[in-house]
């Protein structure tokens, strides 16, 4: 008997079999309990509910949604909302982050001071508190009649932020979106020998051309190129309106995220070996060339893994939107659970949605990483 236990191979197999058996037992027990509880509460199962209409409205969506839309469509709208606010957050937070990083590594002491104070203040306060704060601020703005008017272009009121926009119809936006996707995909797929800058330059040129064409064609002659928000009666017409929920979430996440992204970029820039920069100077490169060909590529390579993590974190952080009523994917799922009672199915969809988003970011960032990583060494 002792010899059987002394055999390491047998012991390893026994432990692993036991582990698998325990997991299977837990899963079966959970499923059985769930079935009984669900049957007790008279709830339906399966994904059939996705075809039913919801009966509740959404206060913000990119696609048309009403109380008569199906669950599938409403969930899709929620997922789009999450992706939309997430991508906007990543874009603006990165811009602000770059600015903060440059301020913090500049030789000017005052710039450093301002950058440091910003980072310490915004990084050390929970993001949800910041979102609550901006939401309170935006909803305490004056009513539309007394809206704060900045140069007749931007109007601030408790209904939201009104900004001027290009006069584009829904179709125009779809055309632009398709151009954008095809353009990025073709850059992605083609293994062209031409340089990175030239490919992106051609892409930007083509996109600008398409943009100009859709902007100038198919427009009513009396409508201007740019539409400005105006108060007509009790509601605003023209321009785009950013609802307080959306704006507060975006501002909160951008200001918070920028403090982290700024620190990552700063770390990346500082990680570049001083000797390499000196070598550039010794070779007679100009300051711009040193930055363009030595510092930025090396720093980018160093910061990319942390940046990926931070992007994924920010994407997940959009879920705090539920606290101020922004209908993101999580908010829609939780309302749907309340309304339809299809708890397990919706939970699976929720997990699936976030895993999909996170893996897409991870995939895109890994592609970039492969593109820029040290070549010739494996």
């Amino acid at each position: 008997m002792t010899q059987i236990f002394a055999s390491q191979k047998l012991r390893r197999t026994a432990i692993q079999t036991g582990f698998i058996a325990a997991i299977i037992f837990v899963i079966i027990a959970t499923v059985l309990t769930a079935q009984r509880n669900i049957a007790d509460q008279g709830m339906a199962t399966g994904f059939g509910f996705l075809e039913q209409t919801t009966g509740w409205p959404m206060n913000f969506s990119l696609i048309e949604v009403s109380g008569r839309s199906t669950y599938a469509r409403v969930l899709w709208a929620g997922l789009l909302n999450t992706i939309f606010v997430g991508i906007m957050t990543l874009f603006f937070a990165t811009l602000l982050g770059i600015l903060l990083a440059l301020m913090r590594i500049s030789s000017n002491a005052l710039m450093k001071l301002v950058g440091t104070i910003y980072v310490e203040v915004f990084r050390n306060v929970p993001v949800i508190l910041q979102v609550f704060f901006w939401y309170a601020l935006l909803t305490h703005l004056p009513n539309p009649k007394q809206a704060i008017n900045i140069g007749d272009a931007v109007l601030l009121s408790n209904r939201g932020l009104m900004l001027p926009s290009f006069s584009l119809s829904g179709n125009d936006i779809w055309i632009l979106l398709v151009t954008l996707i095809i353009g990025i995909a073709s850059i992605w797929i083609t293994k062209d020998k031409s340089t990175f800058t030239r490919r992106w330059g051609i892409f930007a040129g083509v996109f600008a051309l398409v943009f100009a064409i859709v902007l100038f064609t198919g427009r009513e002659p009396e409508v201007g190129l740019i539409s400005f928000p105006e108060l007509k009666g009790l509601r605003f017409v023209g321009g785009v309106t950013l609802k307080p929920e959306f704006s507060a979430l975006l501002i909160g996440l951008v200001l918070f995220g920028a403090s982290y992204i700024g620190e990552i970029i700063r770390g990346g820039l500082l990680s570049v070996d001083q000797g390499k920069l000196e070598a550039g100077t010794a070779l007679g490169l100009s300051g711009f060339q040193i930055n363009r060909f030595i510092r930025i590529p090396l720093a980018f390579r160093a910061m990319l893994p942390s940046l990926t993590n931070q992007y994924i974190w920010l994407m997940k952080g959009t879920t705090v939107g539920i606290a101020i009523g922004y209908p993101d994917y999580f908010a829609i799922i939780s309302t749907a659970i309340n309304q339809s009672g299809q708890t397990l199915e919706l939970l699976a969809l929720l997990m699936g949605g976030f895993i999909l988003i996170n893996y897409s970011i991870g995939f895109a960032m890994n592609r970039i990483n492969e593109h820029i990583k040290l070549k010739g060494r494996t």
């Binding site: 432990i15 310490e120 704060f133 939780s334 708890t343 895993i355």
Partner: protein
């Protein structure tokens, strides 16, 4: 042994210092002047709002208007609600002491004396137990206060401490399981950790609060607060496990081999050789994780707990002090800032100290 001393600082005259830092080039000078003006204006407005024009106490809240500065009277009137939530008024001293106990536990664990694999757990379990006993009461003449009456800062601290006390052992377990040499165990824990890490904290807490009751028999469900703390601890453990795993990987292979060669049993190898080094190597990341966890306790407000964020919202939510939201949010931000900034400064200090080879 002679300890390394920090390098001597280069001395510079005040004029040279100013020239180098503010007026190195002409555009530096322009930026400096513009920024200096902006900073002075900002500071002026801030000090005016927060101190000079501020109203510290009022008989009637109508005295607080938009024209004056901050109306700190709202904190005077609502401070207890924010700090203690719905905890019974006469018993709030218990909540205060309980919070102080946990804060001292945090402070004590910053001292190198306690950095041992035996002392730290004892310290934390003791601190946490005292906290729970004081908050709950029900003995020695202290009336029982059930956990649904807990609120405000003490609930935030309870969640934080609970997550730490439950999450740390779990994290060690996850990390060891993930690098176990039994492939089935390593793979399943790796899969589990990756799934947890790719989900938002809020969804995990929501699942624990709302969905777990469907899946578990009633006997082992526990109450909502307990479920949420355990779910939060699992989330924390998934992240902390990766930190510990990195620490384990960074300890030289020879250490483990030497211990095996000496015939040390597995648990002694783990707890005497590997874990102390792993923790020491990853102390800054661990503190960073603690900082993030403290900030993220504010998320539980969304699933209906009355911790300090929610009680702050309640303080301005009833209309009476609705216009003083800035003051209340600033007060809340200060509470978080003190904890988080203190901890993260400590982490940064530790990092420099370790880089110099003192730790």
């Amino acid at each position: 042994m002679i300890e390394a001393v920090p390098p001597p600082s280069a001395r510079m005259s005040t004029l040279n210092w100013a020239r180098k830092n503010f007026f190195a080039t002409w555009y530096d000078a322009v930026f400096s002047i513009i920024l200096a003006v902006l900073i002075i204006m900002g500071l002026n407005a801030l000090i005016g709002w927060a101190f000079l024009d501020a109203i510290w106490s009022v008989e009637n809240k109508d005295q607080c208007t938009y024209d004056a500065g901050a109306c700190w009277a709202v904190i005077e009137s609502r401070g207890r609600l924010i700090l203690f939530g719905l905890y019974p008024y006469e018993e709030q001293w218990r909540s205060t002491i309980a919070c102080l106990v946990v804060i001292s536990t945090i402070a004590l664990s910053c001292l190198p004396v306690f950095w041992s694999i035996r002392r730290i757990p004892i310290l934390w379990i003791a601190g946490f137990t005292i906290f729970v006993l004081l908050m709950r009461g029900g003995f020695a003449g202290m009336p029982l206060v059930s956990s649904d009456q807990w609120g405000g800062l003490s609930l935030t601290i309870f969640i934080f401490a609970g997550v730490f006390v439950i999450g740390m052992p779990l994290a060690v377990l996850f990390a060891l399981a993930r690098r176990s040499n039994l492939p089935v165990i390593a793979k399943s824990f790796g899969f589990f950790i990756d799934i947890v890490r790719s989900l938002p904290l809020l969804t995990i807490l929501f699942a624990a609060a709302v969905i777990v009751p469907l899946l578990l028999p009633e006997a082992i469900q526990g109450n909502k607060l307990m479920r949420v703390v355990i779910a939060f601890a699992i989330f924390f453990a998934a992240y902390q496990a990766e930190i510990i795993r990195a620490g384990l990987q960074s300890t030289p292979k020879g250490q483990e081999e030497a211990a095996v060669a000496l015939g040390m049993p597995y648990w002694s190898l783990i707890s005497d050789i590997l874990l102390p080094q792993a923790f020491r190597n990853t102390l800054p990341s661990t503190i960073n994780q603690a900082v993030i966890t403290f900030k993220e306790t504010s998320i539980v407000t969304i699933i209906g707990f009355f911790e300090v964020m929610a009680s702050g919202n309640a303080a301005i939510g009833n209309g009476e002090w609705g216009n003083q939201y800035v003051e209340v949010y600033v007060f809340l931000a200060l509470i978080y800032f003190i904890f988080v900034f203190g901890l993260s400064r400590y982490g940064a200090w530790l990092e420099t100290r370790m880089r110099l080879g003192h730790a």
